[in-house]
Amino acid sequence: MPDLEELRRLRRARDRMDREFASPLDVAELARGAFMSPAHFSRRFRAAYGETPHAYLMTRRIERAKALLRAGAGVTEACHAVGCTSLGSFSASFTALVGETPSRYRTRRRGEVRGLSCCEVLRVTRPRRRRRDASSFGEAPRAVAV
């Protein structure tokens, strides 16, 4: 029997990342909220959702950054608006997940998903890591382009 109470705590942590991605969240804080050690939390989260909490938080931030860039925001503005503090690591993560730099993405994709509802936009534009590329704290070397 799966540990349903543990799964509920993982769900609340994931909801918190979806909701509070723009604040300085980290895995240690999320693990505390889920009453687990950071290592155990990361392992159980990955078993439940197929990627580590760190990877989930980054893909959530990049997905939001993509939406802001499509709406015309500047790269620095988008970076800070989604809770990333370093423009360099934001750009590196973005490029690794999306397959192009944020500024190139901004130029090419503006207005592209207009007409989709917001939950469809989230599903369609959320960067996907291939399972084998997802490492505990690593950026995916390749990502499936969407």
């Binding site: 349903l4 799964l7 509920r8 909701r19 939950c119």
Partner: protein, 135 residues
Amino acid sequence: MAVSLSQSHILVDDPDAALPFYRDALGLEVAADVANAGYRWLSLVAPGHPDVLIVLEQPEAGRSPENGEALAALLAKGELGPVHFRTDDLDATLEAIRSTPGATVVQEPVDQFWGVRDAAVRDPAGNLLRIEQAR
């Protein structure tokens, strides 16, 4: 030929926790409350829409233990839904939801360009619900 939705089922782990959410916070009315073989089926209707039943049932009810467990795990993980509801007063609906034990607002109201203002919430079981108001 005319086809329309007559009932839809929502899985909940705990009917006693679900009832305050669906009946008291959302304002649905209980049309039937049936217990059988240790499980409970709650049928609710929205005021003015008696012909569309919303049935709350447990993941394990009427399924193999393996499939019941699999669905219970998906529900606990928050992978079931979304179910969409409309309201004529989103703020009042959210206020009622916020005061319901176990329910959480996961997305605050946002004006959407297709003409609604909507929010996302989780019921006490973990289902994702989107609630929208025309504007």
